[in-house]
Symmetry: D2
Subunit: 154 residues, 4 copies
C-alpha cells in the first residue's frame, strides 16, 4: 500500500558484493555477536537476515529467552543493515515489542529492512521469528551518522 | 515538579524484605543475568539497582559495548523491579536511547524506578550510568500481568 | 524479504465492505478527526489511508506543522486501521519519528498498515508523506482489546 | 534513587527569568498550542507545566479524548521545556503510553521535566494527569539541535 520516496541522498556504495564485504568485516570485529552464536544468513544493501539459537544461558527467570537476548539479536541485524553501505552509522535508540515467548532450543531469525535513510539518519525495522514463521518480536532502530564529511548535503 | 498519584491498586506485598526475597528468587533462576555477570546492588519495592562489568565478549564492531548488552542490563533491572512485589509480570515492550558509549572495563550501574503501576500494567524507567555517574543510556520498559485472578479489580 | 505468519486468530470480519462500514461509523463519531479536516482515502481490512491539509492553526512556534498534529493524523489512520474489523481496539501506546518538516498548505497522507495482530493485541505502522511522496514521519502504534469474550483463545 | 550527572555542556542561559521569556516568545508564535487552548502554568529552565481543557472537538470515536490531542498537549510541554534555554531545539521523535482515558470537560495538566541534555540532544519526560492527580499518559520526547555553531563542543 505504501510507495514512498524516503531517500534524500544516495549512499556511497549499494552493490550486493560491497554490502556483503562490509557486513563480514563488521561481524569479524563484533565479539558480542560472535559470543551469542549469531550467524549471517543473507545480506543485501540495507537488508540483513541473521539467526541465533536460544541457549540455556540465554533464559530469564521465567524460563524463556531473556528479552535482552532477543533485543541483542535484533540490534545486531539492525547494526549490520545500517552499516551495509560501508559508511559508519551508530545506533541512537530503539524500541522493541515482545509478541511471543521463545524457548530453549528455538532457532530465531531476525530480518532487518530499511524503512528510511538519509545522509545523517536511518530507521530500520526488524522482525524476529521462529523457524516456523511465528512472530516473536518487532524492533525499530534509529541510527545516526555523527560526522558528515564537508561537501556532503544531509 | 511532579506529584502524581499513579497507582490504582495496591500490590500484594510491598515490604522491603519481601522485595529482596522475590528478586533473589528470580535472579537464582535467571541464567542470562548470571551469564552476563550482573550483580544486585539494592532492592526496594518497585526499585532495583544492578551492576555489570563490560567484558571483551560484550563489545560490538565499533569496539564499544554492544547495544544489546546495554539493553540486557537495563532490561534485567526492569524485570527485577517490576517483579519485586512477588506477582509475575512479563515485559510487553521497551525503548532505549543510547546517550554515550561504554568501553571495555567500564562498570555500569542500572537504576530502575517505577513510573506507573496498576493491577495489570506497569511502566519502569531505567538509567544506565558509568561508575563516574556519566549517563550511558535511558530505558523505559512496559510490563503486563497476563492473568488477573478472578475477584481482583484491574 | 520478510514473510512472517503473524496472526494467531482470525478477526471476526475481514471483508472490504465491512471494513469500509466500520471505519465510516467510527469517523462519524470522531469529532477530533473531523475538526482536523481529516479525509478518508482508502480502507481495506487492517489498512487505511487518510489525508489532512496543514492549516495555519496547526503550526508550531518554528512555523512548521506541530508534531502533535502530525501525530494526530497518524494516530487517526492507526485507530481506523485497527478498528476496521469491527471489534473495538484501544490504543495502548505509540512512537513517532519526525523525518522532515511539513509547511502550511502541505497536503499530508498517512498510510497505516498492519504489522501484527492477535485476538488481544496489534501493531500498526503508519508513514506520513507529502503529496510529492517525501517522507515526513514514521509512526508505530500498539493497540489492545481489553475484554476478550469467553470462549475466545488469545 | 537516581543521582546521575547527565549534562555534558552548560546551556547558554539557565535563569528562571530567561526561561519564562523564551517560553512566552515561543508560545506567542505557536498557533497550534493557542488553538488547543493550552495554558502555561509554570516555567523553569528545562521544566514546564501546561494545562488543557478537553473540548468536544477533541473527542475520538470512543467518546474519550483523542490520543492525538493528548500527544499534542504533552508535545507542547516538551517543546517549551527543551527550548526554555533560548537555543532552538527541534523534536526528533517521541513515545507515549496511554494509561487512562480522559473525558470531555477534564482539565489535563502536562508536566515536562528534563531527563538528559547535551549540546546536541535532549530527552524530556512528560506526565499527563487529571486535576485529581490521576495519571492519563506518559510521554518521552527526544530533541536535537541540528546546527551547532562552530567553536562549540558538542
Amino acid at each position: 500500500m505504501l510507495n514512498v520516496s524516503n531517500r534524500t541522498a544516495a549512499p556511497p556504495n549499494d552493490s550486493p558484493h560491497a554490502a556483503r564485504d562490509a557486513v563480514r568485516a563488521l561481524y569479524a570485529r563484533d565479539l558480542a555477536a560472535q559470543a551469542l552464536g549469531i550467524e549471517i544468513l543473507d545480506v543485501a544493501p540495507g537488508a540483513v537476515r541473521v539467526a541465533m539459537l536460544v541457549r540455556p544461558d540465554m533464559l530469564n527467570g521465567h524460563g524463556t529467552c531473556h528479552g535482552g537476548m532477543l533485543f541483542a539479536l535484533a540490534d545486531t541485524a539492525f547494526a549490520f543493515a545500517c552499516n551495509s553501505y560501508g559508511e559508519a552509522m551508530v545506533a541512537a535508540g530503539a524500541g522493541i515489542e515482545f509478541i511471543a515467548a521463545a524457548a530453549r532450543g528455538d532457532r530465531l531469525i531476525a530480518s532487518a529492512n530499511e524503512t528510511s535513510r538519509s545522509a545523517r539518519h536511518g530507521i530500520y525495522d526488524v522482525a524476529v521469528t521462529k523457524a516456523s514463521g511465528e512472530l516473536v518480536a518487532h524492533f525499530r532502530g534509529r541510527c545516526a551518522r555523527l560526522r558528515v564529511p564537508s561537501g556532503t548535503s544531509a
